[in-house]
């Protein structure tokens, strides 16, 4: 009879560091918050292989001990410290383990066992090799144009992996399986595609080899439209050997707007000379494009950002220090916001426009009790990023100044997996309506279509995404035309694209 075991797993940041030490997979997506912030996840995620180990702790150890194949799919990220339900179903020789969030699959694992086969190797001696401290880095063009196939010495700390597994309630996971998952993680995160990889799935089967401590990788697919990379990997280490097909996505770098890319949509002018514009969320994506577009119309841009100082510095170099004034503060922190606006008041006197462009990165979820805490956090953070700076800006606004509120076309064509995003954007439109009724400002609500930003930099997210420069040009042209009456107006997705 199938056996169902409902449980939860939670993996902390310390577990992630221990797995990185034991496996050698030090990909910055798992360890470096500033790197992870510029990915669609917005923060560090747990190694998929570590999630698999913890989840397999819920399966029957005897079935795992005679595993013949393991199929894993990493569908959504697992964040450190959050609790995820795990279900385990066992029937005949098949074990299926599923990690979920808000009722949606996060990681699925299918194990086919053969109880007549000899069991996987019991505990073995660790075999270690010096691991590199930073990953290799390939672009999709490198992998598409030249065959990439090589082998490296590889070893992992089985003792550390075993104690880590035990701490996660997975002491029953065979040592051989820990070695396979460790090697798979290293192959994708450190070898190929390396730094910009997102591990999507694996099919692993035991093999045999007389070799000792090598890991061979060979790229068989590199798809330049979606970033899909398929790697055949072979762990060769006696009885712990395994053959693996590993799927990953390579994340290209999101292009930063510059004078040339903006110039395709907006001619430089001095239409906004003498105007002071403050952009919240100015270092990346649409905020950066808007800052550049306002600067190209000769406005003085107060470019507010929280974290990405490197991107903000690049923005200022591109559009000129005389036009771009950087303001680094956390828009969700009232004290930091007040101090930043005190500086604007002292240096600029007032503001002619404030653009509320910052938003937390969205994620896949559902209207489900398990998803509510993250959903409420998202709506709260999104609203705070707009309302805290807005309340500081209101006393500084000149007569007939503009308030620009970044909503989304998601309010017209509602994506199934983003209920939190739709609620958050609707709340911002509510704030815009209030301001239109009870301030003298011109309030512009913008509903951009899907754009290529760090938040949408996913395999299908990039397809049919509109350049941020096109949207920014339409918004700045509307502000520069100065034709809107006080009150509320809306720039729809269609209006933004038709220009």
């Amino acid at each position: 009879m199938p056996r169902e075991v409902p449980l939860r797993l939670s993996i902390g940041a310390e577990h992630v560091r221990r797995f990185a030490d034991a496996s050698g997979d030090r990909n910055p997506l798992h360890l470096d918050e500033s790197f992870a912030r510029q990915t669609p996840y917005g923060r560090c995620i747990v190694h998929g292989a570590l999630v698999t180990i913890a989840a397999l702790g819920r399966a029957d150890a005897n079935a795992l001990a005679c595993a013949q194949t393991i199929d894993i799919q990493f569908k959504q990220p697992v964040f450190p410290g959050e609790a995820y339900p795990v279900t385990c179903t066992e029937a005949d020789e098949r074990t299926r383990v599923e990690v979920t969030m808000a009722g949606l699959p996060v990681t699925t694992i299918a194990v086919v066992s053969d109880r007549g086969a000899p069991p996987l190797s019991p505990a073995s001696q660790s075999w270690t090799r010096a691991h590199p401290s930073s990953p290799r880095s390939y672009g999709i063009g490198d992998l598409r144009d030249e065959p990439v196939s090589f082998s490296v010495p590889y070893g992992c700390r089985l003792d550390l992996l075993e104690s880590l597994a035990a701490d996660l309630g997975a002491a029953g996971v065979p040592t051989g399986l820990l070695a396979w998952l460790s090697a798979a993680s290293f192959a994708i995160g450190m070898l190929v595609p390396g730094r910009d990889a997102v591990f999507a799935g694996a099919r692993i089967a035991p093999s045999s080899s007389d070799a000792s401590g090598t890991l061979g990788v060979s790229v068989t697919t590199a798809d330049d439209r979606t970033g899909l990379v398929v790697v055949e990997a072979a762990l060769r280490h006696g009885e712990l050997s395994a053959q693996m097909t590993l799927n990953a996505f390579l994340r290209p770098t999101t292009p930063a707007p510059d004078r040339s890319t903006l110039g395709r949509h907006l001619a430089p002018s001095s239409n906004l000379a003498g105007r002071n514009v403050l952009v919240i969320g100015a270092s990346r994506g649409l905020g950066a494009a808007l800052s550049g577009a306002f600067a190209m119309q000769a406005a003085t841009v107060w470019a507010a950002f929280a974290e990405s100082a490197d991107r903000a510095g690049k923005l200022r170099r591109e559009f000129g220090a005389e036009r771009i004034r950087l303001l680094q503060f956390d828009a969700t922190d009232s004290d930091q916001s007040r101090r930043a606006f005190d500086k604007v008041r002292a240096q600029a006197g007032g503001l002619d426009a404030v653009v509320l462009c910052a938003a937390p990165p969205p994620f896949e979820t559902a209207l489900h009790p398990d998803g509510l805490p993250a959903m409420l956090d998202y709506v709260s953070a999104s609203t705070a990023m707009a309302l805290i700076p807005l309340t500081q800006a209101l006393p500084l606004l000149s007569p007939e100044a503009s308030i620009v509120v970044m909503s989304s076309a998601a309010l017209d064509e509602v994506p199934k997996g983003w209920p939190h995003y739709v609620v958050a954007k609707a709340a911002l439109e509510g704030a815009a309506t209030y301001c239109a009724h009870h301030t003298a400002a011109r309030v512009l609500v913008v509903r951009p279509p899907k754009m290529w930003t760090d938040s949408t930099n996913t395999p299908l997210g990039r397809i049919a995404a509109v350049p941020v420069e096109q949207v920014a040009a339409a918004i700045v042209s509307r502000i520069a035309a100065d034709s809107a009456p006080p009150g509320l107006s809306v720039l729809t997705s269609e209006q933004l694209i038709e220009r």
Partner: protein, 79 residues
């Protein structure tokens, strides 16, 4: 290659990608098949291109509404 033959070979592609047999009909959509998400969509497209020796445009990757439309697209690519 007839439409029926394309359906037959496509079933093999789905089985390879999903690791299990998947029942396909003209009207089958991603919502009907457990686990058919955006990642699996990409895997299916790339595996189908290899199977049928065709290449899809970026805009075609996310657009087919159901399996029947996808088969029609493969037919048109093969000419």
């Amino acid at each position: 290659m007839t439409r029926e033959q394309i359906f037959g070979e496509l079933s093999g592609v789905f089985e390879e990608v999903f690791g299990r047999p998947v029942e396909l009909g003209e009207e089958t959509t991603a919502d009907d098949v457990e686990g058919w998400d955006s990642v699996m969509q990409v895997m299916l497209i790339v595996a189908s291109e290899r199977q049928f020796d065709v290449r899809f445009e970026s805009s075609e990757i996310a657009n087919a509404a159901n399996v029947g439309e996808f088969v029609t697209l493969i037919e048109s690519k093969r000419g």
